[in-house]
């Protein structure tokens, strides 16, 4: 009886333990950023790559655009906002679930972009 009970406890422990791994679909003890769905479509890059490198891409292209007058690059902040602006607030930073704001809150990184740049898409939805 006792060994059988031990096996049961072990199995239960494995099941519960398995749930805390990141990437699991079940609710996790680790809080995740809540990103509400936006206009959608295909991003200009792979999401995992964009998550790590969007700041570098934006910084590179801002100099091309401002100083070189090249406005055809794929990684423009305006294009990001056009796709990622929330359907409810029409912005990327207006509420805590908006695209830019949610992740930046989560990672505790201040966004300076929108002190100067518009956070709303150019074309009205």
């Amino acid at each position: 009886m006792a060994p059988r009970f031990g096996v049961l406890v072990l199995l239960l422990g494995l099941l519960i333990g398995g749930k805390v791994y990141p990437g699991d679909t079940a609710p996790s003890r680790v809080p995740q950023p809540v990103v509400e769905s936006a206009r959608g479509g295909q991003c200009v890059g792979d999401p995992a790559f964009m998550r790590r490198n969007h700041m570098k891409l934006l910084k590179h292209q801002r100099d091309d655009t401002l100083r070189g007058g090249i406005r055809t690059g794929a990684y423009s902040l305006k294009a990001c906002i056009d796709c990622h602006a929330s359907k409810t607030t029409n912005s990327v930073v207006a509420s805590d679930t908006n695209f830019c704001q949610s992740c930046h809150n989560y990672t505790a990184v201040k966004i300076d972009c929108f002190e100067c740049h518009s956070n709303k898409p150019q074309v009205k939805p």
Partner: protein, 259 residues
């Protein structure tokens, strides 16, 4: 003619030929690198100078400029100012803390009493004093002659405002919201007329030029000062135009007729 031709031929051993082979290979590589950017520059130069067509980048073949005919500019008309404010999201206020990228001024000759009205804006100098004094390199001149502020690196010291003889720049004193997507503006940075660079890059005219034309005055002419076939170059060649503060030798991109 290759560098190899001048090399002595009597010492071409195995090692030497090996090295020579490498040198030829390396030279070919360098030539390839040199040709590729050259081709790109030619493409840009050919594509840029056409007004009404989107450009792939600012080109030094072009120098954008304006010719303002003060005899056509109506006293009391502020359509260019309004259009600028609307296009760039400015408040339109005229307090010392409000941004004014273009403003109307009245000049009067005291002896004769003759008055004239003209718009004053960034003169987009070829030798801009604002660029000379900027400690961070934020104030800069684009290849096509448009003088801009890179607000990413502007520290708001306002040296450029002091250096500008035309009082053409403004400092943003308060936090901004609802900026235009094409025209970022933020507190703590200096700004000024951009010659509607976002429109010019798309091949369109600056907002003030369009507004003046639709008001029926057509006092502002925009075009390429480097192209002798452009309307602005022809008019400058035909009629006597003036630069304001010519004595400073700034070679302004904005020129005036009738003053």
């Amino acid at each position: 003619m290759t560098p190899d031709a001048s090399a002595p031929s009597n010492d071409a051993g195995d090692t030497k030929s090996g090295r020579r082979g490498f040198m030829t290979f390396a030279a070919a590589g360098v030539a390839g690198i040199l040709i590729a950017p050259g081709v790109r520059l030619v493409e840009i130069a050919q594509a840029a100078p056409v007004p009404g067509k989107a450009s792939p980048g600012a080109s030094s073949k072009v120098r954008w400029g304006m010719l303002i005919d003060s005899t056509q500019c109506a006293s009391g008309c502020t359509d260019c100012v309004t259009a600028c404010n609307t296009e760039n999201g400015l408040s339109g206020g005229t307090k010392s803390t409000d941004s004014q990228w273009i403003r109307k001024i009245e000049i009067k000759e005291l002896r004769t009493g003759n008055t004239q009205s003209l718009p004053m804006l960034c003169q987009h100098c070829a030798e801009p004093p604002c660029v000379d004094v900027c400690p961070t390199g934020a104030s800069f001149k684009r290849a096509d002659g448009i003088v801009l502020v890179d607000k990413h690196i502007c520290i708001g010291c306002r040296y450029c405002m002091m250096a500008c003889p035309y009082k053409a720049r403004s400092f943003v004193h308060s936090p901004q919201t609802d900026q235009k997507p094409d025209v970022p503006r933020g507190m703590g940075t200096v700004e000024g007329c951009t010659m509607c660079v976002h429109k010019v890059d798309k091949g369109e005219m600056p907002a003030c030029v369009t507004a003046c034309a639709s008001a029926g005055h057509e006092a502002i002419l925009f075009g390429d000062l480097n192209n002798p076939e452009s309307e602005i170059s022809k008019r400058i060649a035909t009629y006597p135009s003036r630069q304001i503060r010519e004595d400073l030798n700034l070679d302004t991109g904005v020129r005036y007729l009738g003053i």
